[in-house]
Amino acid sequence: MHFVTLKKAFPYTLPVLTGYLFLGFSYGVLMNKTGFSLFWTSLISLTVFAGAMQFAAIALLVSTFNPLSTFLVSLLINIRHLFYGMSILDKYAKSGKKRSFLIFGLTDETFSINAAIILEDGVNKKLFYFYVTLLNYLYWNIASILGHQLSFLIPDTIKGFEFVLTALFFVLFLNQWEIKAHRLYLVIGFVCTLIAFLLVGRAQFLLLAMVLILIAMGIETRWRSSR
């Protein structure tokens, strides 16, 4: 059962493997160039395990010691995870011992795969979610070690590999677009985030985006039930 499920999960994680290799590698390179040893580089990848956060972490680690502001900045950068948890509650329910790890490793990429997939009967679903999470965790950690150790190799000339993750999110978006009942919510999510971005800018638009999404969904439900 384990091997069959692992074999089934692996292809779904390939885009993440590619994306994480470049992102995790870049993180490792940056940590090295900032002067941190492999110990700190890996410790953060193993425990924090959040892409955008870890890039912000470098700046936080070289500034003056301020635990409270670190805590608040980290909350704000990761606030979108709240939505992932709420979206995937029923899928992750009754997953026993694996539950803690599933929640611990709920990154953008793991969420996007596990939330979007519809598994046929006969597949051990919780095990599938577990392997997607585990594989992604391994990719990220291996990539950050490689980045730290091989930072002298980095080709400064070719850039933009992180687009693989944009492509992953976009294709999953297109897959859901084919289901007519989901379209409205895809649009709500995108448009509300765009509006928030235009209103408050790149740094902290996610919190506003989430509030707008919840409001839009509330209005939509009310409108639907009043008809």
Binding site: R80, I158, V171, L186, V191
Partner: protein, 108 residues
């Protein structure tokens, strides 16, 4: 920062990150499921979150400077095209990314 301060700083990041991941599961424990709210959320939020993620991934595009996000725009249009034709997730991501890398590094 000293070693201890580094450890504390990292610990703050871990606690904050894990808090955002655990909170929904702590608010809605399995045994006390609130079916109505949960249904409401699970029918809508996964898809709204995907919309959010797509926009989030596009946040660093430079629309005010040349080439005005042309690489992203062309690559995403191309992905839409081949994905509607072949419905192959990995193919769409792979070819779309290759096109993007080519455009981003060698064309614009």
């Amino acid at each position: 920062m000293s070693m201890i301060q580094l450890f504390i700083t990292i610990l703050m990041m871990v606690i904050a990150t894990q808090l955002t991941r655990w909170l929904p599961f702590l608010i809605f424990p399995e045994q006390k499921a609130q079916p109505k709210l949960l249904n409401f959320l699970s029918e809508r939020l996964p898809f709204a979150s995907l919309g959010l993620l797509v926009m989030y991934a596009l946040k660093d595009i430079q629309l005010t400077k040349a080439p005005y996000g042309a690489s992203e725009l062309i690559a995403l249009s191309f992905i839409t095209l081949i994905h509607t034709k072949f419905h192959n997730t990995l193919l769409s991501i792979g070819l779309g990314s290759l096109l993007y890398l080519f455009l981003f590094n060698f064309v614009f």
